[in-house]
Amino acid sequence: MTEIYPTASLAAHAPSLSPGYRSTQKRAPLLPPIAIPAGAGELSGPILGHEAIRPGDDDLTKTADGKEAQGERIVVSGRVLDEDGRPVPDTLVEIWQANAAGRYIHAVDQHPAPLDPHFYGAGRVATDAQGRYRFTTIRPGAYPWRNHANAWRPAHIHFSLFGRSFLQRLVTQMYFPGDPLHALDPIMDSVTDAAARARMVARFDIDTTMPEWALGYVWDIVLRGRAATPMESGSHG
């Protein structure tokens, strides 16, 4: 089925220049992008799925030797969909995040919070035939950054998705519900449409919460793309 990518949907994204997020000031292009039609190179994309996944890549709470990370264990699951609500199967989902204390293992992160020798903070899965993904991880901590005085990033998990085509590529961040830092965060707030901003927030879910083990959060991700022709009656709820 031929895909179409309505450009009107892109209004959900932040303006590239969002001065409250200081790093955009010298990095955002100032000239408008030039609109081009989608050709073979944009409508195709890399096939990245199961081959990149190793056993355990979906569980960030344990090191290879079975040692357990510190912090609040959580399960983050959901579906990867397109704008028609169709699942995006067999696509690579990569995540990375700070540990429970708000510290990344990254060499550049010098926030004086403890590293956890049993938490690396990166994971990957491929979506299943229904577009579902699932990670077990540790709830990340908030951490300070130097964007403005007393600036703190709300707890978040970075997500990288490929979808089926070059145009579906998405890098984003998942946030946790009820965090008072949301309204103070220039990165989250760069998305000016409140409904779009809310789509970056997972919901707590008792049904995916594992008794006596881990709290469940559910987050569905919607990539660009629709079917070029209307779907048959009855094929869509």
Binding site: L10, A28, A35, G41, S44, G85, V171, A196
Partner: protein
Amino acid sequence: MVERKILGITPSQTVGPFFHYCLVPAAYPYQAAVDAAIAGAGTAVEIVGTVLDGDGAPVGDAMLEFWQADAAGRYADAGPPANAPFRGFARVATDASGVFRLQTVKPGAAGANAPHIAVSVLGRGLLNRLYTRAYFAGEAANASDPVLALVPAARRSTLIATAEAPGRWRFDIRLQGEGETVFFAV
């Protein structure tokens, strides 16, 4: 026919400064999920460039992703007759000097498009992935490329890699300001 319900897309957010250990983990004890080079039959080339900000300062924490056709102009997912094992995708980070290097094969013309590599730029301060194209100087097909034709002539040079040495092409990326690279909306 049922009315089509449209879901709002998930907004993009910056990749931030701390992605390397997951996405381009060469310096970390983690297996990369994505190739750092593009292998295939054809002419081996290296694309070298520097990513610069609006002050002309190097961007030392950017990530670039590349997607291209093979030497015969076929994309990897085009289906049978498959050109497997060609994958056509790679990603690399810039170093502290803002320099990136891609080892690849020179792509062939795909349809009416002159040979080019699709380039995505991600990084701290980039809320949305930027999309540009690297064409090759001296290709006759550049003159009739339908995408280059949409670009004002004075800015076209930002899209054209120049031969720097045998097998090596330079493609600098200026995010902002004088000589700003052309980025596309699709």
